[in-house]
Symmetry: C2
Subunit: 282 residues, 2 copies
DNA sequence: ATGGGCGATACCCTCAAGGTATCGTCGCGC
DNA sequence: GCGCGACGATACCTTGAGGGTATCGCCCAT
């Protein structure tokens, strides 16, 4: 199977529409139709059900969509890592560390400092990512290490070491009635009519429906809380970034959040190993 | 990058010889040379150093060899799993479980029984593998689950659950002086001049050099031990397969062996999940 | 009934991938 | 020191896979 075929199939499987998929791929629709049916013939499996008015995935098609995405990621990763390995020879080596913007900043600062003072350390490029984006960077080889948060991020297929486990707190506007409490239940904050949870853009850039305000950045979000428009449930360490307008109250029954350092399997990079070791020593 | 290019590069990188690689790929040498230099141009990186008498990998080339193998495995896995998903619809579904021939047979029997009695269980095809082979089957999608043994098998990039941790014993011919001992040190058995460790064929089918006898199967191996030609260091549970000719003596300082059940990341198979759950209940 | 949306088919064209012949270079043996 | 042989690169040709345009067939909505 060629990666071109996989890319074609993934495009159709995602769009569920040959015309749009072809447009996205920058080719005409007929060659795309042919490529897909050829792929189906070679695999000996129906991947799509063409229902004259709509296209749907078959069981096998759903499998190929998942596995194919992973395979395309792996190919892309091979390409990126090779390019970066070549760069490292003709000049300064560097590692790319992906981290969620605004999360674990204290831990990150300590890590960077600890690593930088090690002998043989290289430059660390920090990539500040939106939610879920870091995982993608790791899997496609655009990043070498990442700071992830279990159970929010999907760790399957990545090698990880746990760094820190902590509870979660609710971030509330100063003066809100709940700020007088010493602790809260999760159920008390998720369904507050006066403070609906904010909505984040999905991977396609659109917002889910709901009552909460649309958020783009952490600073904007904190401002929205201060204005009494929403609230937030975050790991304990985020307290350090609060100002006087905001109050944190522990939520006793929220799932624990584990901050992990993650890297792609089979990583042969000395720098990645050093970074992980530095992180474990913190 | 197309998988064809990757296959070409991996072939050359493994053979370190354009002619042989071309032969292996079933094409002529000139198009291969061209394909590789084209790949190098597109990546903007030298992958091979052509030293007029020999071909060697550059730093970037070594990275691409590793990552490229993983990517090719992922593509192959996508193909296999799709085919099997299609088969599962048109007839009986099944899972392929890979296990090392002759290892953990008791645990395996219990697992298969426990799973078979579960509601909704499907047929389990057991693939008996040579050393290291199971991992490959998993990564290339020809198997869905595997029983692996840490630290012998490489678990990076696989999801695992631990099933059993045990010490190791030396398997000696009955009557050997060491069989009178209640326990042994690892150093006492690895360098015995009268009982050299056996040699297993590598992935290429050839045997490494050394004094020990060449082994092909476990039964053959046990016979070789009984004949006083070699000895073996294996996990404790292998004792159950011994007959009167053989004696097991614990080795106190051998690394502990953990038997794990492993499956590829992102597995969406119900049967795999059920198998893992059954294994954990043992 | 009919027009429009959508995937499949028919047919053509182009270029990239593969083949053959040959060159350039470098060890090595006589 | 010379020529031979091994090996990768280059030159040039051929073919077919992949892409484009035009059009069909089918179904649903109006």
């Amino acid at each position: 199977m060629e990666t071109r075929e996989l890319r074609y199939f993934v495009a159709v499987a995602e769009e569920l529409h040959f015309g749009r998929a072809a447009q996205r791929l920058g080719i005409a629709q007929p060659p795309l139709s042919r490529a897909i049916s050829q792929l189906e013939r070679r695999l000996g499996a129906a991947l799509l059900k063409r229902d004259s008015r709509s296209v749907t995935l078959t069981e096998a098609g759903a499998v190929l969509l998942h596995e194919g995405r992973a395979a395309l990621d792996a190919v892309e990763a091979a390409e990126h890592r090779t390019r970066r390995a070549a760069l490292a020879v003709t000049g300064r080596a560097s590692v790319v560390l992906a981290t969620k913007a605004g999360a674990s900043s204290e831990l990150l600062a300590k890590l960077l400092h600890a690593y930088a003072t090690e002998p043989g350390s290289v430059d660390v490029d920090v990539a500040l990512c939106g939610p879920g984006e870091q995982e993608r960077l790791l899997r496609t080889g655009r990043a070498d290490v990442a700071i992830l948060h279990h159970p929010f991020d999907d760790l399957t297929g990545l090698d990880t070491e746990e760094l820190l486990t902590e509870g979660q707190v609710a971030i509330l506007p100063a003066g809100h009635p709940l700020t007088t409490r010493r602790s809260l239940q999760l159920s008390e904050v998720t369904e507050l009519p006066d403070l609906p949870l904010p909505r984040w853009p999905g991977n396609d850039g659109t917002y889910p429906d709901g009552p909460g305000p649309e958020a783009q950045s952490h600073t904007q979000l904190f401002q929205l809380i201060a204005l009494g428009r929403t609230l937030l449930v975050v790991p304990d360490s985020a307290r350090s970034q609060l100002n006087d307008d905001l109050v944190a109250v522990p939520i006793v029954d929220a799932p624990e959040v584990t901050t992990v350092i993650a890297w792609p399997p089979h990583s042969r990079s000395r720098a990645v190993a050093d970074l992980v070791r530095a992180a474990l020593r913190l």
